[in-house]
Symmetry: C2
Subunit: 485 residues, 2 copies
């Protein structure tokens, strides 16, 4: 356990230097264990497991584009993302792991206790067993705080789901090398560091119950931010209950949007995906947009197997994931979007107000740009409540980063005539996130950042939170990508 | 409004005699507007709307049979099942409709205010407009009590969903011919009559909030039933809230089962469905099991159009739909099953303890019969808390009836080593039914019967409820099917 967050950073730096990782970009046709289908160009693993890169054709009456086709990751089996919680001196601690993923910025990021595909934990690749897995498998005697099948990036995955679990144990748990216990406040501080707490951790943490009191005396709340932290402190640690009436309107709005739109998907051969080029080296969009599919060779000492090759999806440009937030009748509300993406399980999921790669819309007229994007990008510093760059899953995506933002707007901010958007309180969104395929991964990520958000540091400027005052830069940013926003 | 339930029966009888309905079974190849594909035998409407009878191949590692193929109804569009509620003198009244459906036992049954497929209300068949539809369409100013996309019979429909809505209005609502206002207690009494309250009404009523106080003074509760009615009276009319902890275990159990099993579906040509015979007259199973697909000609005066033809699915034999109920630590709990069916949207949905057609298992050894079926069928009268025969949707199914049962067991009734089953309280199951594809239509139907269950009549025998004391036989049971259980 760390008494100061600086101790964590020392430990994490040691983990970095103690292991030698090497990731080399390589041609797709050179990936050992993977083959490219000569007829369709689909990329599959020889075991038939893990995932496949295939083609998908999409038709919908929802959104800016009516039909398109694209490469997509097809990974039908669901893995386990699990965090173990144990109280020390009454204070919940989360067991986290310093884990290498080949697509990670900095390679090493902070992962859940268990982050394993079914192929991992049934040992398809003949690697080592997954530490702590036994705490998450049935039958369990421990207490379940959260357990739900959650979707992942609908723009890149077809129907992908992972089991998100938080399990609380009371018995002693051996601490293995590469793992550490962190308090809620420590996690909150680390969530303000760019590219450190990985996507899998963030989505799991979004399911942490409000009612779990952290054992600390009443949280210190600064008056300076004008209510934002008071609000969060007011929810957390209390048994937030939902009556039927509290959630009826958001559920009805979601049902309404679901029935308003259609979404039809059809598998197509990967090499018949329009406007994409399938080469032996990589798969790219002909205008250099959206993403590429590349290959990597990996050499690592701290993973299940010491060397492997695999394809990764490499997005073009950094995305923006943002909630607009308002104060309304004494409560904070988030502007939630019902969004259709290629791989969405149902017609829509609930998404942040803005979720896009701005590069793809550069130079387009306003009506062809995503709603509220320009408002978010132009927000003055004093309106920004949260602003951190986080990475998406480094086991499938190469250097995929999003700028996660929360921007406060006035109570009378105009959103009428936008039936795909609705305002929700934080407990409403958190309640919906307990059910699968309601709240998408980007919204859950922001929800975790929001809920684990600890006090702004005294160095923060004005009313806003300045995450950059706590930014830690890691040595191994081998790709030299700029991390600043 | 009816001051006594006998007045309702008089009104309903008048509705029966005021309209002339005629339904004639006819060969499939004689159905006007429908065609049989010469290559695949699939049955489609010339508009491409309504529904299609097609073939489905299923593979799963869940349940008694690993793979099979079968005819299935494919109806991708979702309709609206909506009930309008208005308070008169503070007491909520439900606007119900006497509606003819060609497959109904007695032809006329009690339907929701609105029961319309998308084809109906967008007038694909050029019929009359749907009464009261405007109350259910966005934008609404009225209060939403319930609004959720719910699945229907997974054994017969592929991915079928309807929008289940309850809307409360405060303004005056004109009462049209064929409609009536009923109180909660009146609906409860009618739910104890065989084949009267149709499936669409039952599934919508399952979503009625606990918190809606009915405006009456405290319900009279009989001590004779040993707690069952006290229990219900204890929930209803109070704001039942769910904390995170209250629902965490049921959600985790459901997630666990979902990840344990696989379900793969593949469309196949209808005439390649194994062990089924596709004739010009009807489609039947070669051993006469499961169901047939038949055609009907309909002549009616009170429907959207006055005459039409359509296919219907006619099940073989009556089904059994039953919950086992126990008292455990002062609360009643239902034994919920995680069940995979051909058309389930996800791998499993929550189902009643028993849900099957006993005829299909006749003579099989115990390990090949559905768990708990024999216990339900052999239950002594004093253990039976509810026992009514209800019809399934008469617009798709011909004389499809299930015997809906609630059977009480001892607290220590053995259910261990049955990981597909779990005990849940009534508020837990009701909470889960607010989300789509959690609780299946059979379980929702029983939930509605349970929740709207009013006091047993004084004629009731012993501790049990005897629905037969209130049984009403309608004149127009033209098919002469016996209605008794």
């Amino acid at each position: 356990m760390f008494s100061r967050i600086a101790e964590f950073h020392d430990w994490f730096e040691q983990e970095h230097t103690a292991h030698s990782f090497r990731v080399t970009v390589a041609p797709l046709d050179s990936l050992e264990g993977w083959s490219i289908d000569p007829e369709t160009s689909a990329i599959t693993h020889r075991s038939g497991k893990f995932f496949t890169i295939d083609g998908l054709e999409v038709q919908t009456n929802h959104g800016l584009v009516e039909s398109w086709s694209q490469p997509i990751i097809d990974q039908p089996e669901s893995g386990i993302l699990g965090i173990l919680v144990r109280r020390f001196g009454g204070v919940p601690h989360f067991l986290m792991q310093a884990k290498m993923e080949p697509g990670n910025i900095n390679l090493l990021q902070l992962s859940p206790t268990v982050q394993a595909t079914k192929s991992n934990y049934t040992r398809v690749h003949g690697g080592r067993s997954v530490p702590y897995l036994e705490y998450f498998m049935a039958p369990r005697r421990s207490r379940v705080l959260s357990d739900v099948l959650q979707s992942e990036q609908g723009a890149w995955f077809l129907h992908k789901r992972n089991r998100n679990m938080i399990i609380e144990v009371t018995e002693d748990v051996p601490l293995r090398p590469g793992f550490c216990w962190l308090t809620r406040d420590q996690l909150g501080a680390l969530l303000k560091v760019d590219n450190l707490v990985n996507m899998d951790s963030r989505t799991v943490l979004a399911g942490y119950p409000f009612s779990e009191h952290d054992g600390s005396p009443e949280r210190p709340v600064s008056a300076r931010d004008g209510g934002f932290h008071q609000l969060l402190a007011g929810y957390e640690g209390r048994p937030v209950t939902m009556s039927h009436r509290d959630i009826a309107e958001p559920l009805s709005w979601f049902t309404e949007v679901k029935t308003r739109y259609d979404l039809r998907r059809r598998r197509v051969p990967l090499n018949q995906v329009k406007n994409w080029i399938c080469g032996p080296d990589r798969i790219t969009h002909e205008l250099g947009r959206y993403f590429s599919v590349i290959g990597v060779h990996v050499e690592a000492g701290s993973r299940e197997v010491s060397r492997w090759s695999q394809p990764l999806l490499a997005p073009v440009g950094q995305g923006v994931v943002a909630f607009l937030l308002r104060r309304h009748r004494g409560e904070h509300q988030l502007l939630v979007q019902a969004r259709t993406q290629a791989g969405t399980f149902d017609v829509v999921e609930m998404a942040p107000t803005v979720q896009c790669s701005p590069d793809n819309y550069r130079g387009l007229p306003e009506h062809r740009r995503p709603p509220f994007l320009d408002h978010v990008l132009a927000a003055p510093r004093r309106r920004i409540r949260f602003d951190v760059v986080h990475s998406e899953e480094g086991g499938r995506f190469y250097h995929a980063t999003n700028r996660y933002l929360i921007v406060e707007v006035d109570d009378d901010f105009p959103t009428v005539d936008r039936p795909d958007f609705t305002w929700m309180t934080i407990p409403q969104l958190a309640e919906l996130a307990r059910y699968g395929n309601y709240v998408n991964v980007e919204a859950r990520n922001l929800l975790a950042c929001l809920r684990f958000h600890s006090e702004p540091s005294e160095d923060g400027e004005g009313a806003g939170v300045d995450p950059h005052t706590e930014r830690v830069t890691h040595a191994n940013d081998h790709a030299g990508l700029g991390l600043s926003t």
